[in-house]
């Protein structure tokens, strides 16, 4: 096993940071969209469904490029929202977070939706007739009963975030120590003449983190099942 330099450690840390922040930031939005899709009838529901699921089928590079166009200096969001506020996203770790969040979002929404759909509608009706408003019902009935879906969605998104490559390299670049995550580092080593051992070592780290995430998810799942 080759000795890692600070760049590799930074890449590992950055991967964990990007995946964690992307998951946490997406969670409320993912929950909100899943709630709308499960419980509300409104115009444009199909459009929202397609928009949310689009990243699942689009090549990540395309998503990265679209984000670049939107968030860049000449992009709609970049020029009218980010620049006036003095925020620069492109080629920073925050862009990697956004790319990861967008790519993993459909996975998260799908899992939470599955969790919500498994909640018996009569329980929600019972809560309402017992005096709970809709927000109260969400907090005291829907969230506790769809925790499994929420946990599964978060784990999936986190895991997907660790592996994000295509969208990230387009919007955040591959700057060692700044935006270089594990997959990007592996890519760089794999394409350099003596990088094989280093690439393989990072692959092992990747496998290790993934196994830990899966075990953690399984553990959480069992705890929730026991609490039920």
């Amino acid at each position: 096993m080759p000795a890692f330099t600070s760049n590799e450690y930074l890449a590992i840390l950055l991967s964990l940071k990007v995946a964690t922040v992307a998951t946490l930031v997406s969670l409320p939005f993912g929950f909100g969209v899943a709630y709308l899709m499960t419980y509300r009838q409104f115009r444009g529901k199909v459009v929202l469904d397609v928009a949310v699921n689009l990243p699942l089928t689009l090549p990540p590079v395309v998503i990265g490029y679209i984000l670049l166009l939107l968030l860049g200096q000449n992009g709609f969001i970049g020029r009218y929202l980010l620049q006036p506020l003095g925020i620069r996203l492109i080629f920073t770790w925050k862009a990697a977070v956004i790319a990861t969040a967008v790519v993993g979002f459909p996975l998260m929404v799908r899992s939470i939706r599955l969790g919500m759909e498994s909640v018996d509608e009569r329980l929600i009706q019972a809560a309402r007739t017992l005096g709970a408003g809709w927000f109260d019902t969400i907090v005291t009935v829907i969230i506790p009963l769809s925790l499994r879906g929420i946990a599964a969605g978060s784990a999936l998104m986190f895991a997907r975030g660790l592996g994000e490559f295509g969208a990230t390299i387009v919007v955040a670049g591959n700057i060692p120590g700044v935006t270089q995550t594990i997959p990007l580092a592996i890519y760089e080593y794999a394409s350099s003449p003596d990088g094989d051992r280093m690439a393989l070592a990072l692959c092992l780290v990747s496998v290790f983190i993934s196994v830990v995430v899966l075990l953690l998810h399984e553990y959480l799942n069992r705890r929730i099942a026991r609490a039920d």
Binding site: R122, L123, Q125, A126, T129, L130, G131
Partner: protein
Amino acid sequence: MELHVALQKNFGAFSLDVAFTVQGERIGVFGPSGSGKSTLVSLLAGLQQPDNGIIRLDGETLFDSHDATNIPPERRRIGIVFQRPYLFPHMNVKGNLLYGYKRSAPANRRIDFDSLVAVLQLDHLLSRGVHNLSGGEKQRVGIGRTLLSSPRLLLMDEPLSALDDTLKFQIIDYLMAAGEAFRIPYLFISHSLLEMRIMADRVLAVSAGRIEAQTTTEDLARSRMGMSPAGYINLLRLDHPRSVDGMSAYAWGGTELLISDAAGRPESLFELSSKEIILIKRHPGAISARNLLDCTVSGTFRSGDKVGVELACGDDRLVAEVVQEAACELGIEKGSRLFAAIKASAFRRLG
């Protein structure tokens, strides 16, 4: 309680179109499954909205399509007891019971937690998870949870139809005890005429999304006698039996009724079909039927091609049915004297 409803709701193939005003504390909504009873429950509770119309409870408008009034379910104070208990699986019994209680305004709380727990006999279950309850216990917790939210109207949507017969009558006893203790007006929704007779006084008969009639449970039972294979069911609540030759003797109608049923409980509810009563003009001397009651006809009624004969025996009443020819031969009219022969085995204990 006064409930005024006039509404329409269209589901394509099925439409609900009802208009009624009911007053009373024990109201039944009777009809076959698919007649729109459960939809009516959802609309009253605010879980669904009518296409148009009005719902008014004790003078307060809960829904009015003309001025877009629509009070949300959590502020209607209309409680539902569902067919199945639908307890919150992530809370224990106490958590379930207190869910509505905590959310009710203190000024509206009419039922004290401890007295409810005592009436429904839930004290030994409070810390249990809801998965470790029997079917009857779950339904009791469900009923308790709804009562504790202090509703001003209770909607019981087929609360007994998922239970077996034994359990059904246990729950009926609890419902009656709770009804007596807490006096919450209710709408009892059921397709069972027997349940209706026990639980309600006035009844709305629903059929294919329309109100067919507003009547009393007694009149409903009489009008259905002629077409029902079971006839009219006499309900007798009898108590303090005396054991006689392996049978039970209950004081009734100034005499005693012999019933082939081992005396057990101090109080029992029995059913007796109008078809099981044989009417005789003169005393037969000896007869195998163990009950021969000396009765006076207090009234007759027509139902289908049958004649219902209301018999007065002391202060108690029984309804027997005969075909038209028999009625003529016996010369049945109000005030005539008849003997009613009933086998001891004709009585069936409920529950």
